[in-house]
């Protein structure tokens, strides 16, 4: 049991480091984002092996699901040129998929192996359950939650303002 989790931790950590190195060295931004997604998924497996399943789920849902989607939206907005279709064809040529696919297949095999081989108590007996985290969030960390909500509101207003000014600036230029 101990060895199983440690091996899973080291494998996922190795995948995370390799994917991160590849992410910061890609020339095409979409390829870098593919490797970034793999890196975030690997870190989620690392969290799972450390006994933090809630944080692992949030890593997948918010980081890989929401933040990277924002990046992809921006890449899509920036490539509204004439060469869009050729660029798309070049990006999705197939060779670019090999690296992320291999790394994420490794992660998938590892997760399946963990689910099949590890006893159910591995996830159940994790050191802090979601209930404990929720009690801590709305108990001693209530001020932090309020501050985070204000930070997100400020970011929302700031992003709206910047988006509005950029649109009016483009209209003025045209």
């Amino acid at each position: 049991m101990t060895n199983l989790m440690e091996i899973a931790f080291f494998a996922a950590g190795a995948v995370a480091v390799i994917a991160t190195v590849l992410a910061i060295t890609r020339l095409v931004v979409v390829h870098a984002l593919l490797y970034l997604i793999v890196s975030l998924l690997a870190v989620a497996v690392v969290f799972y092996t450390m006994g933090a399943p809630l944080v692992a789920a949030l890593e997948v849902i918010i980081y890989a699901g929401a933040i990277v989607v924002l990046f992809v939206f921006v890449v899509m907005m920036l490539n509204l040129g004439v060469r869009t279709q050729e660029t798309e064809r070049k990006w999705f040529a197939g060779r670019a998929w090999i690296g992320p696919v291999i790394l994420s297949e490794l992660l998938l095999a590892e997760v399946i192996y963990l689910i099949v081989r590890a006893p159910v108590s591995a996830a159940i007996s994790s050191i802090s359950t979601p209930k404990q985290i929720g009690l801590a969030l709305y108990g001693p960390y209530l001020l932090g939650v309020e501050l985070a909500s204000m930070l997100l509101l400020g970011a929302l207003v700031g992003a709206c303002h910047l988006g509005r000014t950029s649109k009016s600036g483009r209209e003025a230029r045209q």
Binding site: I24, L78, L156, A159
Partner: protein
């Protein structure tokens, strides 16, 4: 109790943070600079969760939630700034912002 030694988790967080810092310093594409900042925040989160699971407390994971909120706020404002900059300059090269005019 968890079976992963705290040192390994901290080392992994440190490696991720160093990689993000290297990407931040080496790349000149503004979008990849934002990606590198995300990687650095992620490395800090790994360190927090590893340290929290060492003492069996939920505090490390609570801190990770705060890092998540900060990353979401940072990336939304950063990407809005990047879009404004791209519409003005038609480039994402960070070196082309080297002149400041009041």
């Amino acid at each position: 109790m968890t079976s992963i030694p705290m040192a390994d988790g901290l080392i992994l967080g440190g490696i991720l943070f160093a990689l993000g810092l290297a990407g931040l310093l080496l790349r000149r594409n503004l979008l990849l600079i934002l990606v590198s900042i995300e990687i650095m925040l992620n490395g800090a989160g790994v360190a927090f969760v590893a340290a929290g699971s060492r003492w069996g407390q939920a505090d490390g994971q609570v801190m990770f939630l705060f890092i998540l909120a900060a990353a979401a706020a940072e990336v939304s404002v950063g990407l809005a700034l990047l879009l404004t900059y791209y519409h003005r300059r038609q480039t994402l090269d960070a070196d082309s912002v080297n002149e400041m005019r009041g």
